[in-house]
Symmetry: C2
Subunit: 535 residues, 2 copies
């Protein structure tokens, strides 16, 4: 398939009337040949009008039909073959193997949603029959189901060109919920976005859906994204990116006449706590695994372990020494964009010049766009005194915080902002200490991991990829796994409806509530995972 630099608007490829831009071959820093054209306000208007027009018919599609559509997107993505992987790798600098596993995750997620939609799970239908004989007053007949919110604006992220982009988790979950989607493609990988977007567009065509169900808009600047979030026809927003970007969208959404939910995944340092016995017995192993988790994909994961907490002493010094050896061996890796690379270099500079911070190790020099891995250390007291140390460094850098004792570990954890993940490394003898930590960690993060790292995100019904602010703007939500669909629906109650007036899904459903979508359902036949490393 040819990359044409066109916005996808309601079944057509349309050259935007706005400023032109090019994608960059990140490894070389050179422009790729195709020209992309930013959307104009008129393009945005057309996509929104079509999304609005598509909503009524799309939300009425039967569960099976909608499931087949989402499954068709998965098939179309696979049909793009190596072209999608090669384009993704060129535009992001990520290795081909990484793109391949990210595609497996993206496709697996679509297939999982396809199955769940087809089974009707997201509707959460239940029925409480009325009782005309009830002593006090007649009990009404009540039925409840989830309905979709309406068209959703999805912002492609820089760091997952497939899994959180044109056909990624936000798009898939919004479509699964019954919401049309308008994607603002990330300008760093427009070709990858166009290819993936065409896979969605083609699936809509194949399934005979209203073509307004999906549009994809390019913009080298911010206007298109801002216009989408401000528009009355958009009913929810999915975003993965920087804290500044997320907060800007939340601000726009809150000033609308009708505010809408913005699900923004923004910032997380993903603390790793290594408890004493594990540190003593498996320090070398955990050090190696930490560096592997930290540096895969140039450390550009939302769940990257950016903070390591342990009690100071010879075992921790050994841990730092082993980790430092590994860091020094990590070859520099191409980063996603020039902006991300510059910000990473500035963060390294800031950290390494702080008097309270020791630079423990730095990977080999970083010519061009390459990010050098880095390990720093500081004391708990110094960490607590400097809020800047809490901030996420997007890239392969981590800070070891040496704590005097267990109490200082608790103090550091209490001082932290909300996180996507927290990992604890333990041996059997650390269990009593870990038990005291768990209640604290539950308040801190959306996912707690024992003897592993957050970087492997299983796509499944029990996954939570979310966490208290600022990890996400809404800590009650998950952007990965089937829980992600709940973000785009709301419950509606139907009281005393005669059968002849009931929406179809009620008639097909069993008389009482169906099982929760969080039930375990087997996904072994599909590669619905994306693990980079696990111990």
């Amino acid at each position: 398939m040819e990359v044409r630099g066109e916005c996808l608007i309601g079944g057509f490829g349309i050259r935007g009337g706005g400023p032109a831009f090019h994608a960059v071959h990140q490894a070389s820093g050179l422009d790729l040949p195709e020209t992309f054209y930013s959307a104009t306000p008129a393009d945005v208007e057309e996509a929104l009008e079509l999304a609005s027009a598509a909503f009524d018919s799309y939300r009425e599609t039967s569960p099976k039909y909608r499931g087949a559509f989402i499954d068709a997107i998965a098939s179309n993505l696979m049909a793009l073959g190596d072209q999608l992987l090669e384009r993704g790798s060129a535009e992001t600098g990520l290795p081909l193997a990484r793109l391949e596993s990210e595609r497996a995750r993206t496709v697996g997620q679509l297939r999982l949603f396809g199955r769940e939609v087809a089974a009707g799970h997201f509707l959460r239908i239940s029925h409480e029959p009325g009782d005309e004989m009830r002593r006090s007053l007649v009990k009404p007949d009540l039925r409840v189901r989830n309905v979709p919110l309406g068209p959703v604006a999805v912002f492609g992220s820089s760091n997952f060109p497939l899994a959180f982009s044109a056909a990624g988790g936000d798009t898939a979950s919004a479509l699964a919920a019954g919401c049309p989607v308008v994607v603002k493609a990330h300008p760093a990988h427009p070709g990858t976005s166009e290819l993936a977007g065409r896979a969605v567009q083609r699936a809509a065509l194949q399934c005979g859906l209203h073509p307004g169900v999906y549009s994809l808009l390019f913009d080298a600047g911010y206007e298109t994204g801002q216009a989408l979030v401000a528009d009355r026809r958009i009913r929810a927003v999915g975003f993965t990116g920087s804290r500044r970007g997320g907060l800007a969208l939340i601000d726009i959404a809150s000033k609308r006449r009708e505010p809408i939910p913005v699900y923004a995944e923004m910032s997380s340092v993903n603390p790793v706590v290594v408890l004493p016995d594990a540190l003593a017995k498996r320090g070398d192993e955990i050090a190696a695994a930490s560096v592997a988790a930290l540096t895969t994909g140039a450390g550009q994961f939302c769940t990257n372990p950016g903070l390591i907490l342990a009690i100071d002493g010879p075992d921790l010094r050994n841990f730092i020494a082993r980790a430092s050896e590994r860091i020094a061996e990590v070859p520099p890796q191409t980063m996603l964009t020039k902006g991300i690379h510059n910000a990473y270099c500035a963060a390294l500079e800031r950290l390494s010049t702080k008097s309270a911070v020791t630079t423990e190790a730095m990977g080999p020099g970083s010519p061009g766009m390459n990010g050098a891995a880095a390990l720093f250390s500081t004391s708990a007291l110094d960490f607590l005194a400097d809020r800047e140390l809490q901030e996420e460094t997007f890239g392969p850098a981590s800070v070891v915080v040496a704590c005097l004792n267990e109490i200082e570990i608790h103090k550091v954890l209490e001082a932290l902002e909300g996180q996507l993940t927290v990992a604890v490394h333990i041996s059997e003898r650390d269990i009593p200490m870990a038990r005291l930590l768990v209640p604290r960690l539950e308040l801190l993060a959306g996912r707690l991991i024992v003897n592993g790292f957050g970087t492997g995100v299983e796509v499944s019904p029990a996954m939570v990829h979310g966490g208290p602010f600022p990890a996400t703007s809404d800590g009650r939500s998950s952007s990965v796994g089937t829980l992600a669909v709940d973000r785009f629906v709301r419950p509606v109650c139907y009281q005393d409806f005669p059968e002849s007036l009931l929406p179809k899904p009620f008639l097909a459903a069993p008389p009482s509530g169906v099982a929760s979508p969080r039930d375990t359902r087997d996904g072994a036949d599909h590669p619905n995972t994306f693990h980079h490393h696990r111990q």
Copy 2:
């Protein structure tokens, strides 16, 4: 039990150091004898510090224990006997019989939550076992459960002195979720609030809970409420009241360092659509039922039918004539507060002087605090041209909108803001027309009712009492029924936890997911309903 005018702070009754105020005997307009004292910033600080301290132990209570606590609140409310009803009636002007049925609803709700908590339903526990042999990569062991957000600020409403107040739905659902509660009592019924608050306080004492689990603060002004919402220890807010009040709290919450969810129920006109055949065959009956629904409790319900839509013609003119006769017969009723009465009189004045609005009927004159029932009419075109006509008139007034045809009904419905409820009155022959309306109504409101009115709110798992903005600030939520608890929890995923480290509820739970809390569970042995009228 004596009403002492004391704030309830962590197990004690404490005379606030702020400005004194009195409750008003609404029927006479005279001050009641007891003096109430507003909380000072120091009182607020103490309640917050205690709530924060109570959170860790309270959230770890076992489901059975927590269920017993919530059940004990119900028993203690009942034990207050007639004193609670009499005080409530005096402070609100609502009849004793209404207070009695509201108490039944409040107590029934607490008992329902007590049972659901004891059964562990709100935890939504599920477990996906890992798979070390998976082809691609080891599948991790994942468990998920809901954890409480933290201390919740609850604002008592003016119109439900029991059901949405000190021990009402927000308090009950936050406590059920595992969150301590700090109530800002509504200054219009402080004695009722103190009595109900003492029932909660006593239950906490009886169950040996940390006394910080519940506090109740008085304030004749806004400072205490504002301070609660702004404080970092408060993690969510429940509010029922005016649009202006709700938006002010949302604004404070959004400016926090860590924004929090505000569940504000604000404004709804609850349209009633009467379709042609029903209008022809049962116009008289529906007119009578509409007026009954409109005027019970002086029309001071969130689900009050403030708008009636039908196609113009002789049947509608007959409907208006019948309804007008009824309106003229409704005796004036004491309104909740002087402020509400003044606002209602101003709204009547505003409506009756609009040239496009006809005053069809007005109840007998309204000396003192009494609100006269009123019925107005206008055309769909005039309605669409004047946004003011869409605003909620809090009190027993309704506007009939005469539409030229079915298309105009659709146009008016499309122009409306979000609603709590929409009712449709139909006969068998109206079904085809109704079928076309339902998809529109689903987007408009949280509850759709056939041949009834929204004023009866069943307290049960399938109830939705919420709706798109401005009906509520978060249309994905319900403030009545077991869904209300979901507002105060978030999911946490536990990855690869050894059994020895798992929180207790996982060990007691069945291996896979438990049924959804929306399943039908019988509540027939408890009066968990609050119907005022149903056809």
